[in-house]
């Protein structure tokens, strides 16, 4: 490739006259790609053989392409780009460097990004720019890296905006703490106002509310004294705009071999929304508890006070019947009997109401009890009824769980009594009590249940009259009855009490049934109770 003899300007005092061959050699050993363009001839007159390392083309390849690489240049408007580049070359001033970045296709087909710096090497007779020397490098990897960094930075910024958080970093020998843009925003400050993004510790502390400051400072001291590598504390700040914010501060501390703190990198997150939400939730919970307590107290007192006059109606009725039987006559005795029966029924209602309200008062303490024992005791209690009805009660192996013993007795008593009550006239009743561990598929959709705990699934099923499936929920409602009193005795509270017992033991109960096809009551109870739940 021809190369004109060019005078090389080397600043004094190291002036050096090099021959064309020497200059070419110099260009060839340069780690950068060197190429020279003749502006007048509008062609490349030299390219160093680094071109083969960078772009894969040999001198022969380039010869075949007409001594030019324009055919492998990638540009949406190639002609305009080439024309503009020549204009730029022609306009280059003495000592000026023009920078270009362009893409070019490697011999292997991949696209490389080339950054090129152009300077005037020689002038023609008219004093116009003649030869332009270009020093180029492959910046493909550097560009990709830079792009990657930009993307990451963008991602971090977006994350900080979305999560209302910011990060900071401190390093040994650095005068301040480096804040991320998000942290400035968190403090109600414009990141642009702090070009070096560095602030002092005192600056940060000036935002902490005075009541929390000592606690935060003491905590930091303890962490450093104990050489803990994690740091977490919650405190309040008042931001630059005067808003009270709740922050969670987390950091990781790195210590050097000498045990001295070397680097701390941390995150501050704004949990004001969560805090507000939580406070509101707590406030409502307190109000709800109070209202429930009032209601329970009311039910308890009302039941008690209602019982008194009722007892008297019954007592006077009985006295009347005993002392004045003769005078009353048959009809009179019948009236008194009806009156006393009505009073007894009301007494039953009140008793059940009392039981119902007592369940939620949680006066009973927890114990590990065998449900099998409980059911056996219930069966003993119901011995007479079971024999009268010629019923069969079959029980599986039942687990031992933590629960309130009297309540568990009441639960099984109500369910089994229920099964013995709603029987088909011509069929011998069969009641089956089964239990097994509940699987996650069964319990995951139940709101009342914590899927991370172990639950037992207990079922009490019968071959009785069943009920219409649409009533499956309603039968648990207080005073809800599906049948007339003359058909089946009852106060309409039995199942409501069951639900209350199951729920107060942190479980869940449901009913399945169809008319004439029996009923099945399924309840889930946890193996262990956690009083704090």
């Amino acid at each position: 490739m021809p190369l004109a003899e060019v005078p090389v300007a080397v600043p004094n005092p190291f002036r050096l006259d090099l021959t064309g061959k020497q200059v070419e050699r110099l260009f060839q050993i340069s780690p950068d790609l060197v190429y020279i363009i003749d502006v007048n001839l509008r062609k490349m007159v030299f390219i160093s053989n680094r071109v083969q390392d960078i772009l894969g083309y040999t001198y022969d390849d380039i010869q075949q392409m007409g001594g030019s690489l324009i055919s492998v240049l990638i540009h949406p408007d190639l002609n305009r780009f080439v024309a503009e580049t020549y204009q730029r070359f022609a306009a280059l001033k003495e000592g000026e460097t023009a920078k270009f970045t362009f893409e070019i296709r490697h011999k292997n087909g991949s696209i490389r990004s080339i950054r090129s710096r152009a300077t005037v090497l020689t002038y023609d007779e008219q004093g116009k720019n003649h030869l332009i020397m270009n020093v180029a490098e492959d910046v493909t990897d550097a560009l990709a890296h830079e792009m990657d960094l930009q993307k990451k930075q963008y991602q971090i910024n977006e994350t900080e905006v979305i999560f209302k958080c910011g990060s900071w970093e401190w390093q040994k020998n650095e005068k301040g703490i480096r804040w991320s843009e998000g942290l400035f925003r968190l403090m109600g400050l414009a990141p642009e106002a702090y070009p070096d993004k560095c602030v002092t510790r005192a600056f940060f502390e000036s935002f902490i509310v005075p009541e929390d400051l000592a606690r935060v400072q003491n905590y930091s001291k303890t962490v450093l004294a104990e050489k803990n590598d994690t740091f977490q504390i919650e405190h309040r700040i008042i931001d630059a705009a005067g808003n009270l914010k709740y922050l969670t501060l987390r950091a990781r501390c790195q210590y050097g071999e000498d045990g001295r703190l070397e680097r701390v990198i941390g995150v501050a997150a704004d949990r004001t929304e969560i805090e507000t939400y939580q406070k509101e939730l707590e406030r409502r919970l307190v109000a709800l508890k109070k209202s429930n307590q009032d209601l329970e107290q009311f039910a308890y007192v009302a039941s008690h006070d209602l019982q008194e006059p009722l007892r008297k109606i019954i007592a006077f009725g009985e006295r009347l019947d005993k002392k004045y039987k003769e005078q009353l006559g048959t009809e009179g005795q019948f009236f008194v009997e009806r009156m006393t029966n009505a009073a007894y029924r009301m007494n039953g209602l009140i008793e059940d109401l009392l039981t119902y309200s007592r369940v939620s008062r949680q006066t009973e303490s927890l114990a590990f009890i065998s449900l099998e024992e409980v059911v056996k005791n219930v069966i003993e209690d119901l011995e007479v009824k079971i024999q009268d009805k010629n019923a069969t009660i079959s029980i599986d192996k039942l687990p031992t769980i933590e629960a309130r013993p009297v309540q568990m007795h009441q639960l099984f008593l109500n369910l089994i009594e229920n099964a013995l009550k709603f029987t088909q006239p011509s069929v011998a009743p069969v009641v089956t009590v089964k239990a097994r561990k509940a699987n996650i598929q069964e319990i995951k959709g139940i709101m009342q249940i914590n899927p991370h705990e172990t639950y037992y699934r207990v079922s009490v099923s019968d071959n009785g009259i069943g009920f219409e499936p649409e009533y499956a929920e309603r039968i648990f409602t207080i005073f809800q009855r599906l049948h007339g009193r003359s058909e089946y005795e009852g106060t309409g509270l039995g199942l409501a009490i069951c639900r209350k017992i199951v729920e107060s033991n942190h479980g869940y109960i449901e009913a399945h049934g169809k008319v004439g096809g029996g009923a099945e009551f399924i309840f889930y109870l946890p193996l262990r109770q956690h009083e704090t739940r």
Binding site: Y300, H304, Q307, E308, L310, R311, K312, I314, A315, F316, E318, R319, Y344, N347, L354, R358, T363, E364
Partner: protein, 156 residues
């Protein structure tokens, strides 16, 4: 002891009933009478009156009007001073705590049972709803406290 002596011994135990409800007083009296328990029965209508009686204060200042009872039947829910407070006062008074106290109430609540036993009640009885059963309870109470149990001698 012959039968007459036993009768006399039983009769000598005076029953003091603290109940604000007139009907209930009547029922209790009738229930004891049904069982041919011929003990003297006296009534007070609330905790304040009960303590006045026992400590011989105000209208009970004259000892003739306030002989020491052999047993006290106590209702829990009464005006002014309820049964729980009265029980506490009796059981913390060295002169009075020897007198057996039987709580006779409509309450079945576990908390009432626990609390009154805690305060030192001698027994807790829930009034049955049926009067026939109540007569039965009165019979048992009479039998237990007047026939079986050795009561402390009255120091008056």
């Amino acid at each position: 002891m012959d039968t007459t002596e036993i009768r006399e011994a039983r009769k000598s135990v005076m029953i003091l009933i603290a109940d604000d409800d007139e009907d209930d007083r009547m029922f209790t009296k009738e229930a004891f009478e049904e069982n041919y328990l011929l003990n003297e029965i006296r009534f007070v209508s609330d905790g304040v009156e009960l303590l006045d009686y026992l400590k011989r204060r105000n209208k009970y200042i004259n000892p003739d009007d306030s002989p020491r009872p052999g047993i006290i039947l106590l209702d829990l829910n009464m005006p002014k001073m309820d049964g729980r407070e009265a029980l506490k006062a009796i059981k913390s008074d060295p002169d009075l705590r020897a007198i057996p106290v039987v709580v006779l109430t409509t309450s079945k609540a576990e908390q009432d049972v626990l609390q009154t036993y805690d305060l030192g009640v001698n027994c807790f009885i829930t009034k049955p709803v049926s009067f026939a059963e109540f007569i039965e309870v009165a019979r048992t109470v009479g039998h237990y406290w007047f026939d079986i149990v050795q009561l402390p001698n009255s120091l008056d």
